[in-house]
Symmetry: C2
Subunit: 120 residues, 2 copies
Amino acid sequence: MKAIILFGHGARDNRWREPFDRLASLWRAQHADTPVELAFLEMMQPSLEEAVTSLVSGGATQITIVPVFFGQGGHLRNDFPLLLDACREKFPRVNLSATPAVGEDLSVLQAIVDFGARSL
Amino acid sequence: MKAIILFGHGARDNRWREPFDRLASLWRAQHADTPVELAFLEMMQPSLEEAVTSLVSGGATQITIVPVFFGQGGHLRNDFPLLLDACREKFPRVNLSATPAVGEDLSVLQAIVDFGARSL
């Protein structure tokens, strides 16, 4: 079974996660057959490994991790691959893959441009 | 004249800014009559005040600042209003306004969901 993880940075202020909760709700409403979990790099729970564990417990065998970051800096280039490797070691039979950051996607960037244009 | 600032967090790794440069290019291609500048909270240049100064020098009288952040945590709730106030004090005749974070916009969230769905 396929599943998806929306992976964000995390922050001290719990209200920071609201758009992530909204993303997960949108996903569940539109893709009910594909379980989704949030995961955070730091300061928020669950961790990437906890999210993978939860999805695997639910029967996931193929998990796509989407980094909900704009830019690809040290967090995605250095920290994230280590976390991903640790998950692969822990679950060698699960197919774990990662997409580029959402900020690499032209449709996401266009939605931001359109939001700006509507706000002028 | 109206202008827009796309305001991001900033990072040590210069490659982090690539999506921001792409956003500015998209804006210029689609909204050539409305000057755009990037600005960063920390670790990258220009600062918000530098971007405002540059746009005002170019004739801007009404500047909309779009926080290119997902969540609204301490940076947007605490740091950003102080920076905005400082700009307003420096340029009292310029109309400076700020939108919510782009992560509050449903179209942006939907674009992220669609990116995830295409990546499965």
